[in-house]
Symmetry: C2
Subunit: 300 residues, 2 copies
Amino acid sequence: MARSMRRGKTDTIGVVFPDVSEAFMNRILAGIETVALEQGVSLMIATSTLDSSAEARNLDTLMDRSIDGLLLVPYAPFRGEAYDNRAIRRAMESGIPSVCIDRYLPGISTHAVIGADRDAARLTTEKLIAAGCRRPAYLGFDLAITTLDERRRGFNNATKAAGLTDPSEEKLLTERNPDSPDIMEWLTELAGTGRFPDGFLVSTDGLALKLRWLLEKLSPAGRASRRTGAGRERSGPLIARFGEDSPYFPTGMISVRQPHEELGRRATKKLLALIAGEVILQNQQIEIIDMEIIDDTQHH
Amino acid sequence: MARSMRRGKTDTIGVVFPDVSEAFMNRILAGIETVALEQGVSLMIATSTLDSSAEARNLDTLMDRSIDGLLLVPYAPFRGEAYDNRAIRRAMESGIPSVCIDRYLPGISTHAVIGADRDAARLTTEKLIAAGCRRPAYLGFDLAITTLDERRRGFNNATKAAGLTDPSEEKLLTERNPDSPDIMEWLTELAGTGRFPDGFLVSTDGLALKLRWLLEKLSPAGRASRRTGAGRERSGPLIARFGEDSPYFPTGMISVRQPHEELGRRATKKLLALIAGEVILQNQQIEIIDMEIIDDTQHH
DNA sequence: GTGAAAGCGCTAACAT
DNA sequence: ATGTTAGCGCTTTCAC
């Protein structure tokens, strides 16, 4: 401790998360932990529990506690939600080495390690199309983060490239409440048009499970049918989604395995390199990690 | 920082978890965070990623970094697994205020905040029995932690009190691998006896989902039938389990909502009180928090 | 090669 | 009230 004071180094890095209770945060944290333990640095963790003012407060406290560097998963505000990123600006401009994880802030220059969301969304949508979908729809939260923007972009690129319905159906949810009837309302509205989607790309794993449940409820036998490559009829729309959850049973979906643990590992390594001064990079440098696509549609 | 040195206080508490990737750990962490943010103390977090030697190393590092107090969720070794708890002993005996969460170490005197596992297991088992189960079985991991011991005890108390099969069927899994065929082997073995359970108490949420899936696979129509209070036939064994997961759809089970967030909050408050010297307690003091039982069997 | 001294930045105690 | 000083414990430097 006195050691830290004298040497001007604390061997501690700060970690700021919007919310630990999201499952994927833990995997990022696990990755960070691995490298941190290996390199003998400690972690000072603060989460913002879905409140952007807590993020600001946490950032300021951490800077006070003199950390050597900062890992940040920025808060995800709903589009239109007031969000004050001055604390982040302050932190970034204080000159402390920092790396963003999973998403970055377009206006603020930082290093970042993120997933290949656009590519994965495009490839996954192409898989839906290859499986016979002609009216794929996009479902996700309406959050202002780069990650989700990229996924929508990838989805749109794929549907356009395939010459499908333009604009494709899309639903951007404006609240986080899992009990909200918003998805059901959308589905019944779609059902009314007679142009019900035959495939869905869902931005988040939990939403996909809810969607699957609602679809079953709506029509146990399977609403739209889709001609598979082999010519046989399959029942119900296909679901593809970002994320995987319980490894305990098959989901019947196409899932994008997000490399969260690797994001955490890489970001920490990059941060430690920045701290050690091994890498001197003035400019924002964004590292993009590929994602794996798991097709589980045969097992349901 | 110099402030900390001079005042002999760091306003930082150490938190040691066996594994952040378990979903319930985040809820404990969220509770800790809430109180910590409120009281202006920072968290130094270390996880052991399911490796008991990492736990030891983390504990030693944390003690070095001079934290004001320690929150610990002890590592959960399989019964029979070599587990060296000397680092914990060292930490506890160093005199630093510390509080265990969710489980405690019988041999080592510490304060702890835990759930009412035995009561919840008993009440839940009584619910199974009240719903018509005559041959309930227990399924869980064979871990040497107080939490799981209590659950088994509660289960056994309830079955004995009701005068049911003695000893009740029970399966204690000896590995964590979700793909392991162990549960399926147990089920087919049970099916062979002709005395298939008509209800299950499962110690962990993920296991319950796997069990439900295996039961459906084994017999889509429902294997054992059970007479409900109302006299109508229900298909398939009932499942009760500790934990709840996705709020996105009904599970059809009886779930025990574990008050993890509250455990975190209470433990942190207790720790801060100990640090402030408001409470001087030489002896181990264990605080037990009640759990809520959610019956979702009507919705599947 | 070994030992002594200055100082990291702040705060509590003391002196003015 | 306001200002000054000693010292938290370690490390680096400088002197021997």
